[in-house]
Symmetry: C2
Subunit: 316 residues, 2 copies
């Protein structure tokens, strides 16, 4: 089974603290790194957690508030100093050009690689990227400025062939790949053996959903339905419900309500307001609604396995 894991690089919010870094995380599918958001210091967090920067495939920026983007200049510049040659695709709202273009003009002649900007659609779900293992799409969130969530969906994996059937029907090696993809088999005496007899289903495709920043928005539920892990912002505790509404952020309880409605398997909360030195209150309020909740923390790695509890490593 392919590796499919999420590493938290930062799960703080706008005002920095000594406890949390600004938002950034990495989705690692099969040794390709997809970065979501890039707050100031993201490149240092990658070094700290010994992540190989040359495995970075592309960047997905949820919205253009500073705490989600101020790590871009440093990261883009370091990639060039380290001699990256592969194009770097950045998915972000169109105003990113205002911020990035001057930087690129300034660094331009020294850049070792090319940046391709793709504009996110803030109004509806949209397909962004796929390769043989993953499909990435974006969908609208509800925040003060255009903001999108992201869904990372593993593609259907090939069926498992049943070893005993290979022996029993003497299936030639050259036909195994086709059978894994769904083909039937015809024996030497012309009998058709249906694929369902020869195979068991492949691993169910896994899904990771990222929703930050956003107010409580039940309309996002269809996009993230049945995700294996949902990362949802939980900036505030319930005592700050009014403030959450005013600033278009969510409380931990609201994050849990979304997780419950979407019937996800696990909820990870983050994007903590700087006012919380101790996060127990957020976890308590979320687990009251959705027990399978964990707190994000810098350096935590969430391994996504199908139908079983995910595994979380704390690398701090």
């Amino acid at each position: 089974m392919n590796k499919f894991q999420v590493t938290i690089l930062g799960c703080g919010s706008a005002i920095p603290t000594t406890m949390h870094h600004p938002p950034s995380q990495l989705v690692d599918l099969n040794e390709k790194l997809f970065m979501i958001d890039c707050g100031e210091g993201t490149q240092f967090q990658m070094r700290k957690f010994k992540i190989r920067i040359n495995k970075l495939h592309s960047l997905f920026i949820s919205h253009l508030h500073g705490d989600h983007i101020f790590g871009l200049p440093g990261l883009l510049s370091t990639l060039s100093m380290l001699g990256r040659t592969a194009d770097l695709h950045i998915y972000a709202h169109k105003e990113i050009s205002i911020l990035i273009k001057p930087l690129l003009i300034y660094m331009g002649k020294h850049m070792s690689y090319k940046i391709e900007l793709h504009h996110l659609n803030p109004d509806r779900e949209e397909f962004l990227f796929e390769n043989k293992s993953i499909r990435i799409s974006s969908f609208p969130l509800k925040h003060r400025i255009d903001t999108n969530g992201f869904l990372f969906e593993e593609k259907e994996s090939p069926k498992h062939i049943i070893r005993e059937m290979i022996d029993f029907y003497q299936i030639p090696v050259r036909q195994i790949a086709q059978i894994k993809e769904g083909a039937d088999f015809i024996t030497s005496n012309g009998t058709l053996i249906r694929n369902e007899i020869l195979t068991s289903p492949g691993n169910p495709p896994r899904r990771y959903a990222y929703c930050s920043d956003t107010a409580y928005a039940p309309e996002i539920v269809p996009y993230i339905k049945n995700a294996d892990i949902l990362y949802h912002e939980a900036t505030f505790a319930e005592s700050e419900l009014t403030r959450a509404g005013e600033t278009y952020h969510s409380t931990a309880r609201q994050a849990a309500e979304i997780a419950k409605a979407a019937e996800v398997k696990h909820l990870v909360i983050g994007h903590y307001s700087s006012r919380y030195n101790e996060l127990g209150v957020l976890l308590k309020e979320a687990t009251a609604i959705f027990p399978n909740t964990e707190l994000a923390a810098e350096g935590k790695v969430f391994d996504i396995y199908p139908h079983i509890r995910h595994y979380c490593t704390d690398n701090r």
Copy 2:
């Protein structure tokens, strides 16, 4: 005597490491903070070392390489979120506008304070700022792009009045301030008492010089002559002399040669290349030429006292 100290926030160079942060330091004169350079993560370093961000007076940017400026967006944005109202003066080369203006346009309507950009003159020494305690000037360094060093000079402090003379000549309190500034005193019977009899000299003005980034450049010596502390970049060891020349950086020995020629009291070296995990070689090569050398390190505080050894606190 006024407090006059330098806090190192970062003393690494272009490629980040887990050991050193990109360049930034704070000159604290009498509770006003003058920041020199602002690499990525500078605002986090200020938090880490418990420095009150609201004491920040102005910024001095030596040159526009990324490692010296990528902390600006985050710092400027945080100052606004914390409600700063005082104008912030930034001294930098004119191309800073290309990088900063789009950011200001983008954040513009939300900014709580005004930024005033002042362009540095890359070709000659120039006065930048003064108040009642300090005078700040810039001078050209020798790097791949326009780069300036900075000199922070304390102003002449008032003379010390000799207490015994106040009693002996029955000097009224209202005349003491004038006498400290150099006035003579006329006794009730008309005798003139010369100022030199009534006073002893004030504390000698202290000077801090910052030279980074720069190739070995003896022509800077007149600007930094007799400084109490000289911070000079020492990117490389002597084994990388050729590389130092090609990249317009200095070796530790060259930094020490400058310190010796300028007859400064103390040398602090920094801007270490990412290749050095262990800095002993740099210190050894510098002290062979100029014994009074110290290694910069994140969190180190250099207190500048006149004519006596400075005091260094390690806050890491």
